[in-house]
Symmetry: C2
Subunit: 296 residues, 2 copies
């Protein structure tokens, strides 16, 4: 790993500011007749920073749920299991692809991987996978953030050429703490205050405080943009760009909210030394296996 110019400085000791995005949103060529995503879909992703595919993979919901139930027991005590900030409820399982052939199958699914390759314009590798679980009644919120900010500062991802594809495992409604996004926010980059402490991930995975834009910045971003809740039935797939601002409210409803997420990075965007941390996070958060993914 070598250090390269920092195009997206954040948590480097200055004040918070909004700086321009220097990377394209779509890295692949114009679509052809055989492309999985057509012109309209690409335009939508370019403009909003995400795409929703209602009811795309309903047949995967039950097997994935069953396998996650198994992982909850089998992985007990390992650092891949992250609990809620208050209490003992399950918040996240990291790296489930390693432990579950079913989840690995989602990551390599013929309906998913070709779209990802098209958007990122290259072969891709699986940088991170996780199951996010927001328990009924007590699942706590996620603060506004751009994934890329963390991946850049803490993992050394140089450019914005990554995305997350995620599947709803139960209904995501307005009431059970759905993902809120700010369409169009992926075209800005918020350079945040603060400095990353050693092993920051150990607390930030429970409750993120660094890399969270301040209220004045959020107000400025929201002046000409709106919040949108991503809702849908189980089996709905969502793709969101690595720099899209998102967060989620807590879940005071009686329904848990569970999603499985796969983060893909372009093989042409391999991490270098972290831009704002002493050493990169563990491999279960940012894989060092850059093998190009193949369709299952």
């Amino acid at each position: 790993m070598t250090m390269t110019d920092d195009l997206y400085p954040s948590r480097v000791g200055g004040g918070e500011q909004i700086i321009p995005r220097l990377d394209p949103v779509i890295h692949g060529p114009a679509p052809s007749g055989e492309s999985p995503l057509d012109r309209d879909q690409l335009d939508c992703y370019e403009q909003n920073g995400y795409l929703v595919f209602p009811d795309l993979l309903p047949e995967l919901v039950e097997p994935l749920q069953a396998d996650i139930q198994r992982l909850r027991t089998e992985l007990r005590g390992r650092e891949e299991l992250v609990r809620e900030p208050q209490g003992d409820g399950l918040r996240t399982i990291f790296n489930p692809c390693r432990f579950s052939p079913q989840i690995d199958g989602l990551f390599r699914h013929p309906k998913v991987l070709p779209m990802v390759r098209q958007l990122l314009g290259s072969d891709v590798y699986l940088m991170q996978s996780r199951v996010n679980n927001k328990p009924a009644f007590r699942g706590r919120s996620f603060a506004w953030h751009s994934d890329f900010e963390t991946w850049h500062v803490e993992d050394g991802m140089p450019r914005m050429r990554a995305l997350t594809a995620w599947l709803m495992l139960n209904e995501n409604s307005h009431y059970n703490g759905p993902l809120y996004v700010i369409p169009g926010s992926h075209k800005l980059y918020v350079s945040c205050r603060g400095r990353t402490g050693e092993d920051n991930y150990k607390s930030s995975l429970r409750q993120q405080t660094l890399g969270v834009p301040e209220p004045d910045t959020m107000r400025e971003i929201l002046r000409e943009r709106e919040i949108h809740a991503i809702t849908g039935k189980p089996g709905t797939l969502v793709i969101h760009e690595c720099n899209l601002l998102h967060g989620s409210p807590d879940n005071i409803s009686g329904d848990p909210r569970q999603v499985v997420m796969c983060v893909y990075n372009s093989v042409e965007n391999k991490p270098v030394a972290p831009y704002g941390a002493a050493r990169p996070r563990p491999a279960f958060l940012s894989s060092r296996d850059y093998t190009p993914a193949a369709v299952a």
Copy 2:
């Protein structure tokens, strides 16, 4: 004040259970041609436990907002001002009617007071008033609760013959922590665990922990009922029954959510000694002035 039979025991040392409501929902006679609420509205209130009047009093929004701004400064340091559980943001102003002729005017408004009298079937007095403020980005949630449970246990309100009328001072959307209700839940009473500590209100107004039904009870209630978010434009009036289960999620949006609430109790339902506390809460939370309200 004399102690009377406790029809709705709660926080008396037993396990949590759901017990039946023994009081009618509508205490007034059948509507006549001159009644402010018609048969359909009464049926709706009886069945769901609340009524929404979109855009009923838009002309009050600006004067009330201005007066609340004044109160924020003038009441600084008094116990009527309650702050957020984390941080210093304003959460509630209690008893604003005492300090603001405009808010007192809402409470006595000719479009409001006659409906309240019709539902409660008697003269009424103002038991409590408050401004609820949920700041942008950091306004925290309210746990599920029935107001009546607290008023019964901590203030000695004997029967379910009270209600809250409240006005939206800005848009209440899905995103800024709107009031969630469970239609029909006012017909059940959840007798809660725990015992009320001395001066419980000093912490409960910031974050309520007693009188909050447990997840298993909430799951049972939600088995045949749904959560509904009450949304609307500024100037929308809502009336909700004293035993309706409600709560609200936190506000991670950029828009504050502000409402002003007036609690009316029937003059035939005056408090006795608290059913589960050593002494009643202060008058700013439960008035001892039972003068029947007159239309302004």
